[in-house]
Amino acid sequence: MTEIGLRVPLGVGAPLMETVFRQGRHEYVALGLVSTAGDIGRNTMLLRRVFTLDEAAYVRAPGHGGAWRGTAMIPAIEAAMNEGLGLVVFHAHPHDGPPRLSGDDRSSAGRLLQMFAARVPYRPHGSIVLSRTQAAGLITMPGAPMVEMAPRVRWLGASITDWQPGSRGHRILDSAAFARQNLVVRDDGQLTLADARVAVVGLGGGGSHVAQDLAHLGVGELVLVDADRVSSTDQHRLVGLTSLDIWLRRSKTRVIRRAVRRIGMGTRCEMIMERVPGPKAIAALKRADVIVGCVDNLHARADLQDMAWRFLIPYVDMGVNIRTIEIPETDGPRVTIGGNVLTLIPGGFCMWCCGFLSREKLAAELRGPGRNYFENRGGEAQVVSMNGLVASQAATEVLQLLTGFVGTGLTHGSLALDGQPGIQRGFRKLDGVRGTLQDWGASRRPDCSFCNEILGAGSVVWTSPR
């Protein structure tokens, strides 16, 4: 069978499941609009929106699980045509294990998919049946006949929940090495970590910490992205750096790869000696399960935010900001120490929603000249211990996303800040003077034009205008 994936953003999976698993006189369906990301290791469909049918749209059809009026699909089909997206019909078989497509499923999919492909020929279309743990489907890729597939489904919520076709196998990890950690993440979580690919962008004071934390956790593969070589100004904060590295002006990627290897948990490293958004870096980010941004400017953050939302990849951002107080009070602090750890789950709040990014802030960062102005500017204040505090929280956020050790819910409610149902947790602010890292939370703005345009947009589909 051909391999295909489906990614479902936060806030979409729960209503989809609620619809198709509803108990009633018949089976219930939902229609999903999908874009695609064709170059992330396999064909991947990105679910953007779901349409449900009113009860009145269903018709009695003895011998069929569910039947509905064709006219009820018109709003979804029109939206697919207007937005250039594929259509997937979802329904459910409420049991565990691999679902089987019935003869009825096959014959209705044959008719529907042909009709969908005639309207939007350059996107995949499908009919997918969900069990409570796996999926099976009939999919037609552009220009290809309909084939049966068992899609890998990735549900984004408080953590990443993957439904894999078939069993996961029985790999044995070094049980002694992870014994204490297994008490938190369990065997399944440790296997998930071993299978994970995490991109760490920026390998300075923050990223060097994060990468080594992730290696200790047992993450299987790290994508190390940084264009720079080390210098003596890095020595006070880049964890793992030696005087010889500085003398030899080694690349930061190489220094961190060596540090990761020495930890000895079997983590593989891909080194990308390039700045985001260079083409190699972008290609590598697309294949990541989680992106961790440890960058020092807003333009790079905007690029990572774009990639994360476009391809439905959770993104953890960290940064520390130390500023001198020009006229400090007597015996008072001489600096302010701020920082952040943002856990950005596609479908939840983004950096634009919460005001972390704005056009004004980006313009102020440029100050007129090109982007190379701030990418080559002098460094700001950095202290290893303060970086480490924030970096360790960022690594813990990755651990949660991959293993769900503090919850796995798919709803916005499962991510609510304690006592504040409308506020999503995941916007942590450091007060380094007080020594606190407090979650302020943030909300998704329904009118956020970035979310509305980019979330799940996937790769551009190029077609001939002729």
């Binding site: 990301a37 250039g84 700045r275 958004p277 260079g278 083409p279 870096a281 972008i282 697309k286 690029d303 774009d306 990639m307 476009r310 391809f311 000249p369 090109g370 982007r371 190379n372 345009e453 980019i454 947009a457 996937g458 790769s459 551009v460 589909v461 190029w462 077609t463 001939s464 205008p465 002729r466």
Partner: protein, 120 residues
């Protein structure tokens, strides 16, 4: 740019470049990709795919070339920067390219191409 102006530009591009024109959408923006345009002698490489972004919020089209494009002197154009467009890396370059609808998109592309004849 207004929708009618974008449609006219698209027609002109198809007329000039034929099968070398592909279009895509990215949110509200229309993207047009020319498979290859020749650059002035000495540029490295000597040809590049060209991306033109038509954004309803921008007064004129924005051209991009493949990242890594060098001038005849072996340097990157000054003030060029890599940007993400539609999930791909493209190189934007700074050049005052005049745009008037009545002059048409092909003249605009010719002006953009001239940027690469100037060594910084």
């Amino acid at each position: 740019m207004k929708a009618e102006a974008i449609e006219q530009a698209l027609r002109d591009l198809v007329s000039a470049y034929g099968d070398g024109v592909l279009t895509g959408r990215d949110g509200s923006r229309t993207l047009v990709r020319l498979s290859e345009i020749e650059l002035p002698p000495g540029c490295q490489p000597t040809s590049t795919p060209l991306l033109i972004v038509f954004d309803p919020d921008q007064a004129k089209p924005i051209p991009y070339v493949r990242p890594g494009q060098l001038l005849a002197n072996g340097r990157a154009p000054r003030s060029a920067s890599i940007q993400i467009v539609g999930g791909e890396s493209w190189m934007q370059f700074s050049f005052n390219i005049p745009w008037a609808e009545e002059h048409g998109i092909t003249r605009f592309i010719a002006s953009a191409r001239q940027r690469f004849a100037q060594n910084d």
